[in-house]
Assembly symmetry: C2
Homo-oligomer: 216 residues x 2
DNA sequence: TAGATTGTTAATCGATTAACAATC
DNA sequence: TAGATTGTTAATCGATTAACAATC
């Protein structure tokens, strides 16, 4: 039975299932039960079945799940088979790193241009992707209508550039600027807050050290 | 009343409070009530008070919270005032970007060395930080005992390098390799899974488009 | 003092886990 | 067929929200 509302907790587990299924597939494993998968991932079999049941029925009693099939289903749910255009806005160190390392195609995105204000970068090509001037952003978007913009500009420019991108009609922003963007609700923002992430690690380490673990 | 166990949900909100308080402070605001802060952050006043009460009593009836004080308290809870050593392992594009952009000191970390296998990088200096050979990792750790290692090596080397770091006594790993590391429980791992993050954005966009929002 | 706002207890809501009939 | 495992309903657990006495 498909559910109406899917909770954020479920959505955030989907990519993880996807990743594990990839891994299992690449090891040549064909089928898996929810309990075996759960043991590997450190979650309960119930949770896996409950999560999947939000989207349909993908298993078979007495057998489990066919890995290739389930992987394809989850990919479909995540939208990886409906390729969308994506641009990188800000080709500094971080934008550069994403251009060089990150496999956008695997997530169903087509990256064909990056944008920056720096004359030193404009006109260059990074890993086969052209870096254009920010002045061309309006014209480019009018023609190519990218669905997602990766925001890797300096913090000081973040809100302004985000507003501009929203005005140009992007549906989502992948935000690496470590600021909270104020944008209309219709635009999806996915934040990658490095600082927040490192601080949670800091918390856990300092708490552990203060508690003198397993000795107190 | 201080709680024994702090849930992950609470911990992950702390850096966000910290960030907002910074912002308010930099705007010259001196005090704030839980309800005003909640409105700004899009959460309930109850949740803020409940969260803070896990760690102590930081407010005053009829007044609210002093921003500087509360910020300092949260910083303390997060451990930013107990500086710890941190190393970057893998000085490729992503490691490079972190070296150039990220303010480790703000999170209470002292970064003084990066490590890589590439002869082209070894011996160079990035933003004042020396890049050493991975061969020196053992000797370095024996002397300086870094608490945290930032793991920005290729996926294929991730587990192996992580094992090595754990053997060298690091308490935490900030993992950017997009793999699930298998490590002993005593080591804290904070994952930054770019691919997972982008896939959740993909999901939300494709779902929204399929549902033909506010028109069906 | 009166008004505002805290910290905390109680109520509600949602998410996770357990149980089990259905069935491959 | 017998055993295994699903999808789903019910039970439990935990997290969020509401309420309110305490008090600055």
């Amino acid at each position: 039975m498909k559910k109406q509302h899917i909770s954020d907790a479920v959505i955030r587990r989907l990519p993880r299932y996807y990743r594990y299924l990839d891994e299992l597939h690449s090891r040549g494993i064909v089928r898996i039960s929810s309990s075996t998968l759960g043991k590997r991932m450190g979650i309960t079999a119930s949770q896996i079945r409950q999560d999947l049941s939000c989207f349909g029925e993908f298993g078979q009693q007495g057998y489990g799940y066919n890995i290739i099939e389930l992987r394809a289903e989850i990919g479909h749910i995540l939208g990886v088979d409906e390729p969308r255009r994506l641009i990188i806005v800000g080709a500094g160190h971080l934008g550069h790193a994403l251009l060089q390392n990150f496999d956008f195609a695997q997530g169903g995105f087509r990256l064909d241009n990056a944008f920056d204000v720096s004359p030193a970068l404009i006109g260059s090509e990074v890993n086969g992707v052209a870096v254009r001037s920010m002045d061309e952003l309006e014209d480019y978007c009018a023609v190519h209508r990218p669905a997602v913009a990766v925001l890797t500009v300096p913090k000081s420019a973040a809100q302004e550039v985000a507003d501009r991108l929203v005005a140009l009609g992007v549906d989502g922003i992948w935000n690496f600027t470590n600021t909270e963007l104020m944008l209309p609700e219709r635009v999806f923002v996915e934040n990658v807050h490095f600082a927040d992430s490192l601080l949670t690690l800091s918390y856990r380490i300092s708490k552990e050290l203060n508690n003198d673990p397993k000795k107190g």
